[in-house]
Amino acid sequence: MGKQQILWQQEPAWKKEIAGIFPDFMRERWNRALSGGDKLQEIRIGVGQPVRLCFAGKEKFLSDEGFFCGSPKEAWHMTERELDEIIRHICRYSPYAFEHEIRQGFLTLPGGHRIGMAGQVVLGDKGTVRNITHIRFLNIRISRQVIGAAEKVMPYLYEGTRFLNTLLVSPPGCGKTTLLRDIVRQVSSGNACGAGRQVGVVDERSEIGGSFMGIPQNDLGIRTDVLDGCPKVQGMMLLMRSMSPAVVAVDEIGGIEDMKAIFQVLQCGSSVAATMHGNSMEDVESRMQAGSNQEKGFWKGYGPKELFERFLFLEKRQGKCGIREIRGKAGELLFSGRWEELCCG
């Protein structure tokens, strides 16, 4: 693991935070369950469904007493009342204060843990999601920050002392956000390749900073400003106007509007670090050009190579995430094959 330090292994802190999600009357069961759940990744709860705990590659059911059990029949089936109590407790008895988050389908908690929600959707006049009532399914995702994950990548991301515009590409669950988070931290606090810079993070889904009430729960470095829950395009412009960052970080870009916003950031002289779903350079090009081909004039046919100077492709092997290859602006291969060297946990 080298210099990497997986923060979620600091047992008492994250276990206490997760146990704290649940109301008093069921906390003892969860304390019991969590005491044996060192590699816990997700807790899945649904009304009338068995409570499931997902570990790296494994799934276990939880019994009424808080012990692991093999079959769903013996498992604890959450009742409507129990789930309502959990939600009331999570929302600090003030669901209205979390209306925006509930509408988006997730809540971020102290420690950066996220709770995904599903239930009955209430639609607004224009067919948009107005809110979710009768929340009946929860997915509690344990936050894991890997300090040092980007250590070996950093030399590839600098030209002299300038941070290069970087795009991290992978299918979901391969560590893009984890790597971006550590890149942000290192750029912000300074590293062997460059002095610390002012970084602005547009954290639309609260995944990079894991902010709770505006305060990032993950370490994003000493010079990082976070715009939490803000749409990417507006967020990037807002940051450029108000916080003058040297580097802007955004998660999961895709459409032509995102590209236009990134272009404007670059025009202002700042650098960009972003992530995107995909698997290869062709994926990236086809995704970005699919939007730009429908545009006219300057934007027609505009592609990723005009914006980014480094492309990092990540993938998962044997349950571990790592970097498959790093490519330069022209698509030239800068790093490939030595998988284990850049593994980010």
């Binding site: 704290g20 009331r88 003030s94 204060a97 809110n131």
Partner: protein, 171 residues
């Protein structure tokens, strides 16, 4: 001389007793007004700042101070740091606040009922639910003010008269 002194003491005692009844009414009125102001502040924090209830309580605790301030701070800490159930904690803290107060059961209910009006998904709905408690508080204040107006003079004059009567009987 001794008889006169005794008579004056009896009259004074009776007047004092009457005065304490009036003061109790005053105290109840003051507390009800304080409860109403707490709920008004709470409504503001919910409607305009969209603050969660424990946060709103913390802000109010700074303004109110005293027993209510301490209780609200304890509720905030219990919910945020101790992850304790709000309703249970609220009841415990309000029991402490109301321990030595002259509030009647109906007036105490104004505080005890607060957790049952929580849980709305929209701040407007939540604020409206709070308005019910505010309305009830205002109604009780009005009634008590009326009672005070009617009772105060009567209780005081009755107190002095009873004192004089006892003095005459003893003399």
């Amino acid at each position: 001389m001794l008889r006169l002194m005794g008579s004056l003491l009896v009259i004074g005692g009776c007047s004092g007793f009457a005065g304490s009844i009036c003061r109790e009414l005053d105290l109840r009125l003051r507390m009800l007004k304080q409860i109403r102001s707490i709920y008004e502040n709470m409504k503001y924090y919910i409607s305009y700042e969209k603050a969660a209830i424990p946060e709103a309580l913390l802000k109010i605790s700074g303004k109110e101070g005293g027993a209510f301030g301490e209780a609200f701070e304890a509720v905030y800490q219990g919910v945020y740091e101790g992850n304790v159930n709000f309703s249970t904690l609220w009841r415990e803290e309000m029991d402490k606040v109301l321990l030595h107060t002259p509030l009647k059961q109906r007036e105490r209910k104004l505080l005890y009922d607060f957790p049952s009006c929580l849980g709305f998904l929209e701040e407007k709905a939540q604020a409206r639910a709070l308005e019910e408690l505010l309305r009830e508080a205002s109604l009780q204040i009005e009634e008590l003010e009326q009672e005070k107006r009617n009772k105060n003079k009567m209780v005081m004059s009755l107190g002095v008269s009873v004192g004089i009567l006892i003095s005459i009987l003893l003399l």
